[in-house]
Symmetry: C2
Amino acid sequence: MEAQGQLEFDGVPYLDGHASDPRLLGWMQGTPPAPERRVQFGDDRFLDFPQIRWSLSHMRELLPTVNVWRGRGPSHTLGTPSEADMARIDALAFTDMQGRARTWASSLPDTYTDGLLVLHRGRCIYERYFGALQPQLPHSCFSITKSYAATLAAKLVHEGLLQDTQRIPHWLPEMRGTAYEDATLREVMDMQVGVAYSELYADANADIWNYARAGGLRPRPSGYAGPGSFYEYLRTLQPEGAHGQAFAYKTVNTELMCWVMKQVTGQPLAQMLSEQLWEPLGCEEDAYLTVDPLGVPMGGGGLHASLRDLARFGELMRREGDWGGRQLLPAAVVADIRRGSDPAKFAKAGYTLLPGYSYRSMWWVTHNELGAFEGRGIHGQRLYVAPKAQMVVARFASHPVAASAANDPITLPMLLALGRVLA
Amino acid sequence: MEAQGQLEFDGVPYLDGHASDPRLLGWMQGTPPAPERRVQFGDDRFLDFPQIRWSLSHMRELLPTVNVWRGRGPSHTLGTPSEADMARIDALAFTDMQGRARTWASSLPDTYTDGLLVLHRGRCIYERYFGALQPQLPHSCFSITKSYAATLAAKLVHEGLLQDTQRIPHWLPEMRGTAYEDATLREVMDMQVGVAYSELYADANADIWNYARAGGLRPRPSGYAGPGSFYEYLRTLQPEGAHGQAFAYKTVNTELMCWVMKQVTGQPLAQMLSEQLWEPLGCEEDAYLTVDPLGVPMGGGGLHASLRDLARFGELMRREGDWGGRQLLPAAVVADIRRGSDPAKFAKAGYTLLPGYSYRSMWWVTHNELGAFEGRGIHGQRLYVAPKAQMVVARFASHPVAASAANDPITLPMLLALGRVLA
């Protein structure tokens, strides 16, 4: 039984979406903020709940970042949702995976939503912001970053600049003697690499935290003697099991893929995102990427974008790469992602809430009745593209639990319900 | 005698403006950059020459920052200079303070210019970029930040929200027992405070470096036990001499002034700059401010702006606060700055290259034939407003020597020469 103002996940109580509103809690309010209201990089609590409800909309104030420029052109218009559309969607009823009857509107605080936007046939029919997020503020995309990066990688494969059957040392000889010595680029892009590396966010000893410290994304303990950068960390990774057998979600794969892309194109990721997406899409705001101590952007999770600009990328994918008559992405690249990969290999990873899914070029492919595919990031970030419903949903959140499994029981049925209405 | 490819300052040889071009030297080029090409915060060499030629255009990649939003409106147009105007200015001859005959064009590398833009009657007649700077990239303004902040403070005084005859503890009781206990806001704004604090950049033991470490702008030694933020540092400052007697340039005054502004308005500096200048001026790009570990922006020197946007602020000052019929700054505020303060108090500070100057609301007032007043920042940053020539010059640079005295012998005669032509 959850107490008033609380929600429980795995038996642990947290302030609920209303009670944890960062404006209410006063994070970083005051001149200077009182010690108990501070969100600081140095104390390593900036991603703790509930301060994460502030920090995911303010990450550049805590970490070094590189700009993703929107260019000088006019912004692409999404339109303004009508009150009738908003009310209709807010009232939408659905049943969550635990069998609880819910409405769309009441589900937003229960998924710690910071912002949610729905496009139908390219027109904005729903847009709301909560807590620390504002329309112009970039919010952490976390692993939706991977979908951006791998879509650009798939484009390079399509163009012949990369061959996805090649093994990694073809581009990066320094990766000989690591888990990636005999992994192909395609195995990396589809996360079917046998590498000893754990990404269980709830485990304080998981490798993901060593990776974060190497990249300067978490404070390093005094006397730290570990790797000083992402690349240095990647060179320490050892094999565990065979490649190509099963889906195994590991952020280091994306970082390695981005290293290959940089090696081949000579272009920093921020420049590729700017020239190939932000500028031609007519994004409204600059985005940014967190960078490591060598200036290498975190391709595995460092992108921060405005909600509208995230939705625009989803819309480009829904339109199969066509943007007002200009083909920004080859249609074949989008089609390949939508087809997904082998669900049998995905099933081995044990995501019980995601039956029938596959994973292709760092998108999560539902294979559901809407033909939907998703970009997914920890703490509730989501870009849901449902071609058969002509729907795109972009959501930012600051859920207390990193793993998407904590919000999927609400998120997936609510998105499916709306998609069915719009289909 | 200077060797080929070198310039000497105080007998120390440095690579000249051409030889130190950061593209030529390959700073941060490579995947990853080779150790000798890295510019990193952690090694505390990121402001050393010649890597500073890269870092002043890339500061956000090294430090946490807060955005100064340009809003959603169209940008204000400056126009494109004609080739004839550019050639005419490039060929302009003048004699520097050492008696050497120079041309405008050849002076640019000798002052390590990263970008220079001239407005005449509001129209751009000259614009060039060098090295790491590009038109859309924000560059360090360093202490031109002070001119922005104090102009907004002077506006608050004009509007009656601040009274510049009040003493600092009126707003900040925590400053009792410090040098600021009996200093008035006006003494702070005009830098006539008797405070024990040294800002001799060439001295590694100067207080400015302790201030920088407190604010997280330089790495802290292991076991660091000094102040953890700007505000904490300010509370340590002790009196030295009387207030109101002489100009004494000390960045901590600006930081304190910004603290008062935040206390009174409740608005962060980034928001004030956005709403009162960036948005109504129609700036082209977002700007940013470096922030300390409590998220407090460095009002004394943390602003980074594009060259064109810097020029727009100068143009607003030239137009006495009027921007296309909208009075963004009270004309009386600009007039007060242009009038300057008492040159006799300025003279006591011993700036031999700046005879007859005074300092008012954190602008350097020349009292010269052009009625010019300047925003000045270390390493060559300059915003020169010359009302009688209807001229504004914005310059970014990355000079090896921090003190403006290293470039004034060229800069001041060249700006005066152009102003005389345009007057």
